[in-house]
């Protein structure tokens, strides 16, 4: 490969963020543009060369259309003054210097377009890196963004790029689920993103994999280059880009002396989990990436409480076929074993399912997504239902409907699932008995939980989205992170109401979402009546140890007091004081919510 910037020329810079998954790692940057892929070289047959050039040109046209749409939107929302950068990007896409270089590569070296784009980009970046002008040197990131966009556009006909180098530290603006699904995370050493918070996708993935992660690094992505040396120190909420030799030496001894943060597997996992006063508690696993499958058993989960099926969509951008889904669900059932798995129907917006041509939504989290999408695109729902019903004949599977607003959503989805069941049976295909549950994560569902409870087999409480929708706070938006309060009294009240409605209807309620994986929060949830949790598998041993050490009655007492609090600050203060006094051995100070600092 062409040579990149020499590291010695780069001064060490330090970036403060929020460590959301513990650990320290020294590695090399893999810069990920939202949705970015790794590129591999393929050699073409002579007869395919012109086809490849045409494929490249089609990708340029697609990327250009996307950029023009983004530019129009930016002009409208930010004003023309701020949209100019996209104009520059469009011009870069159209730049003959780049186009001719790529096409020449494809023809002369008979390589795939992705590789040719990468080589051309690297060559340009090397030239820019030589320039003695800070502003201009920063344009390198524009070139990376433009070429990544071409590569993404090329992937319409997908190739398999999923391998990372051994020391890859993924640096992204934000790790979208789509990007997450495309990377082979087993080799990722750490994650570092510009935005996001404790419950962002980045944080969830990192904790699931047991690798360090820091979010909220603001401008890191723009300033890092693939291949740069980087240290991710989640313990000090810090990223060090281009570390000096001395810094690296310092950290090397630190990394070696510290135990790796992976938790010891499976301890006492075969015993049923009980609180000190004998209340039986179930801990299940949330699963998305195949890399997490192994963790289900390793950390002693009682089956899979939440399988995020949208993972299947994300490397394809079109709904997978019934057969593909059937195979995937069968595998999930096998991983989950006797305890079974709960498959959440696709929880995504139309942009992810319908491909890039889908209409842009002004407010996608409140838009046509999850069950709403499935109900308006019945074929997608029917295919998924058939695949699950068939797989359930050979393993224990349940279905949970995401983003339910009221009983109507439940009735419509249930009717379609039952129609498919009848059809399969009429065809003589074997189907399994599945239970149908509702995700309770929208405030209207909380308020009508009693009604919904009488029409479903179980509840899944999605705490991440519940907090977001209840408090009207975008959980990916770092600017409003202060308003995202998992311990807000309204959140606790909603959880209590939902669990209470389930109890009165004699149906189980499983609390999914990241709240349950934080031991202190798990105790509050326990006190609110939750006895069934689903969380990132690697969090299970920690939460298990906590629950074994507390009394259900004590948890109830503190939960009652929390419900009386006026503000999230009051709840946190209460938790801090009470836990420290009551269970000092279980909760070291760092495990409790930190006091808010004003300003």
């Amino acid at each position: 490969m062409s040579k990149r910037r020499r590291e010695v020329e780069e001064p060490e810079t330090r970036w403060q963020g929020l460590g959301v998954s513990d650990g320290v790692v020294i590695g090399r940057v893999l810069r990920v543009f939202n949705g970015a892929r790794q590129v591999y070289r393929a050699t073409l047959d002579e007869k395919d060369v012109e086809k490849e050039v045409r494929r490249f040109r089609a990708a340029i046209r697609l990327a250009r259309r996307q950029l023009l749409a983004i530019k129009t939107r930016a002009e409208k929302e930010l004003g023309a003054e701020h949209a100019y950068i996209f104009d520059a990007h469009v011009l870069m896409l159209e730049d003959l210097k780049l186009l001719e270089d790529v096409e020449k590569q494809i023809r002369e070296d008979r390589v795939n377009a992705e590789w040719a784009v990468k080589v051309a980009a690297d060559r340009l970046l090397a030239i820019y890196a030589e320039v003695k002008d800070d502003y201009l040197r920063a344009r390198g990131s524009d070139i990376e963004d433009v070429t990544q966009r071409i590569i993404v556009a090329l992937s319409g006909e997908r190739l398999n790029y999923r391998r990372l180098s051994e020391d890859a530290v993924i640096v992204a603006e934000d790790l979208l689920p789509s990007a997450a699904a495309e990377l082979d995370f087993e080799h990722a050493r750490a994650l570092a993103t510009d935005s996001g918070g404790w419950t962002s996708h980045t944080a969830i993935i990192a904790r699931g994999l047991g690798i360090p992660a820091i979010v909220g690094l603001r401008e890191l992505h723009r300033n890092a280059r693939t291949g740069d040396l980087i240290i991710v120190d989640a313990r000090h909420d810090e990223v060090i880009l281009h570390p000096s030799t001395e810094t690296i030496e310092q950290y090397k001894s630190l990394v070696e002396s510290e135990p790796q943060p992976r938790y010891v597997a499976n301890e006492g996992a075969s015993e049923p989990l009980r609180t000190l006063d004998g209340k039986e508690i179930t801990l299940r696993a949330n699963v998305e990436l195949p890399a997490e499958y192994e963790d289900v058993r390793r950390f002693g989960a009682r089956g899979i409480g939440l399988y995020r099926s949208e993972f299947l969509l994300m490397h394809k951008r079109v709904a997978p076929t019934e057969e593909e889904q059937y195979e995937a669900y069968l595998e999930i059932a096998k991983v989950a074993g006797d305890e079974g798995a709960t498959i959440r129907l696709f929880d995504l917006g139309g942009d992810k399912i319908g491909g890039v041509s889908a209409e842009w939504e002004r407010n996608p989290t409140l838009g046509l997504r999850a069950i709403r999408y499935s109900l308006t695109h019945e074929d997608v729902l029917r295919t998924q239902a058939r695949a699950i019903l068939r797989a359930a004949a050979r393993g224990r599977l349940d279905v949970v409907l995401p983003m339910i607003s009221d009983v109507m959503d439940v009735r419509r989805a249930t009717r379609i699932i039952n129609e498919e069941r009848a059809r399969l049976e009429a065809e003589g295909t074997e189907v399994g008995a599945i239970r149908i549950g509702a995700m309770i994560e929208v405030p209207s569902a909380v308020m009508t939980a009693g009604k919904i409870a009488s029409e479903v087999d179980f509840f899944s409480l999605g705490t991440n989205d519940l907090v977001q929708y209840l408090l009207a706070v975008d959980r990916g938006n770092e600017g409003v992170a202060d308003w995202f309060r998992s311990l807000h009294p309204s959140v606790l009240q909603s959880i209590y109401m939902t669990i209470d409605a389930a109890r009165k209807a004699f149906i189980p309620a499983v609390v999914c979402g990241e709240m349950a994986s934080t031991p202190a929060y798990a105790v509050v949830l326990l006190g609110l009546g939750a006895t069934d949790f689903s969380m990132t598998a690697s969090s299970i041993p920690r939460v298990r140890r906590t629950i074994e050490g507390v009394k259900f009655a004590d948890a109830q007492e503190i939960a009652r007091e929390c419900l009386e609090c006026e503000t999230a600050d009051d709840v946190e203060e209460l938790v801090r004081v009470y836990f420290k006094e009551k269970w000092p051995q279980l909760f070291p100070p760092k495990s409790l919510p930190a006091p808010r600092v004003e300003g």
């Binding site: 100019y84 520059a88 870069m92 003959l96 002008d133 201009l136 344009r139």
Partner: protein
């Protein structure tokens, strides 16, 4: 072929926005348009943004614009006007 000497007067130099404007303007003409640093250290095709950015022309840099083709007079006029007007940025 005609040529004309200009000076970069806007504060940020030939950065992304100015370069984009320059390339858009130049591309509207059929003539070949080139920019060369007056000190002869670098030259660029005015219709390629990647090439224009590589000039790294900061404020105060002197450039020689050359145009060659059927509409070379109009082309060089339009491009030089951008430099004179500071790419519409100077009054801010």
């Amino acid at each position: 072929m005609i040529e004309h000497r200009v000076r970069v007067t806007n504060r940020l130099g030939l950065h992304a926005r100015a370069a984009a404007l320059l390339v858009r303007t130049a591309s509207a003409f059929s003539s070949a348009l080139r920019l060369e640093r007056a000190d002869g250290t670098a030259a660029a095709d005015a219709k390629s943004i990647l090439s224009v950015l590589m000039l790294a022309a900061s404020r105060g840099t002197e450039l020689v614009v050359t145009a060659e083709g059927a509409d070379e007079v109009e082309a060089i006029g339009a491009v030089c006007a951008l430099f004179v007007e500071g790419f519409g940025e100077n009054e801010r």
